[in-house]
């Protein structure tokens, strides 16, 4: 087979929140596949389950049915997902959830330290990364005093610091101005990472991704291009 390796494989995954009165699951027998090198855009209306899908993938939620296979291994328990979290970086919708350390440097170094790097190595990684993203001036800034756009870029840096193989971005452009969105596009397209982006920003998706999925009714469906989704939602 000529196809590159499948690194994320969700097989017939279902999920419903307990408190959901309607009894209708958020995701219903969903199949979703990402191969190495894919740049996937995910579009779906509000509440269609994009965040849920990502949290299932990272092991933050457990599927009610189905199988999650990442890097060729079936992932079921908290322990299985530790390796997943080292290799897949998730950028949260709200940067305030992600940045919890007092200073930018500490927040960026948090991931590498958890991966067992020494303090010196972690600081070195942090400095190098901030420099490569042209964010070095932020190193000693306090995270709670950053602007919304700065927070998003630093959050991305905290994820990139773990040197993930795959990036998963949950609504990365919400609340950002054009310049910051432009910077985000630049960072993503100049990387050679595999990534999945959920967004309502079609312009952003068409610039950063080339495989498009529509999420709705608890399922994902591949579409040939982004305008094929336009009519749906």
């Amino acid at each position: 087979m000529d196809n590159p390796e499948v690194i994320i494989d969700l097989k017939s995954v279902s999920f419903g929140y307990d408190g959901n009165q309607s009894q209708r699951p958020v995701l219903h027998a969903l199949n979703f596949r990402v191969r190495r090198g894919d740049r996937v855009g995910l579009i779906g209306p509000n509440g269609s389950g994009k965040t849920t899908l990502f949290h299932l993938l990272m092991g933050l939620l457990q599927p009610t049915q189905g199988e999650i296979v990442v890097f060729g291994k079936k992932r079921q328990h908290e322990k299985d997902f530790r390796e997943v979290r080292e290799k897949i970086g998730l950028l949260f919708q709200d940067s305030d959830d992600q940045l919890f350390c007092p200073t930018v440097a500490e927040d960026v170094a948090f991931g590498p330290l958890n991966l067992g790097k020494s303090q010196e190595e972690a600081l070195e990684i942090t400095r190098q990364l901030l420099r490569s993203l042209a964010l070095e001036e932020f190193e000693n800034r306090l995270t709670y005093k950053l602007s919304g756009g700065e927070k998003r870029l630093i959050s991305l840096a905290t994820v990139l610091a773990m040197k993930p193989e795959v990036l998963v971005l949950d609504e990365p452009t919400t609340g950002l101005d054009e310049d910051t969105v432009e910077r985000l596009i630049q960072i993503l397209t100049s990387s050679n990472l595999t990534y999945v982006i959920a967004s309502h920003n079609r312009d952003f998706l068409s610039k950063t991704t080339d495989i498009f999925y529509h999420l709705g009714g608890g399922k994902v469906e591949r579409r040939p291009n982004i305008s094929a989704i336009r009519q749906v939602c």
Partner: protein, 252 residues
Amino acid sequence: MHIDNFASGDSLLHRLDPRVKIIAAMFFSVIVAVADRPLCLAAAICFSLALLLIARLSIREVLLRLLAVNAFIFFLWLFLPFTYGGEKLFSLGPLTATREGIIYVFQITVKSNAIVVALIALLGTTPIITLGHALGHLRVPSKLIHLLFFTVRYLQVLHLEYDRLRAAMRIRAFRPGTNLHTYRSLAYLIGMLLVKSFDRAERIRKAMLCRGFHGEFYLLSHFELERIDLVMFLIMMVVVGGMASLQWIILK
């Protein structure tokens, strides 16, 4: 938000090693809290004022802080003189004020003000984050320090959330009054803040898990003890030691 109000500045106290400041503040507070001899308390007030002068803080800001502290103490002045047993000084209707009671409240007033001024001058001149790191290097349990960090970090976020909710109420013409509608609405506001904080805590935990968190926290800032730090440390320890001896050793 009033975090780090006094932390910007370039006085000797601002530049002093935070570990020195924490230790000095600790000894000072404990000794003043248990002291009761006038001479010792007078020395404490002088030491606090000296620190305040060295720190070169805005007197107005400091007085505003002290006003808040003394608002609490005001209530002690209302009750303690009449409830503390001792020699009668004067009567107000059925109430009798005692000499010991008045001395006691006066002591509390002096002690509280001395301690608060010293804390503002010593700890207030350190950014709270630096303070946390210094505590870490003084071997304070890392769980406590991270509680401090999380509090500082998310106080801001919660405060903004509160402001947003309040603004949302105001733009729909909510005006607080003394009625059930007001109480109910404010209860909703507080309830909503609690629920949102709970959700946020859950999301932060998830974000930490995604970055490989396994219960370990790390400190990145380190401090270097310089000569001026040692000198200041010795001076402050001598003064505090002097206060202790005024309290316990030197007899009449």
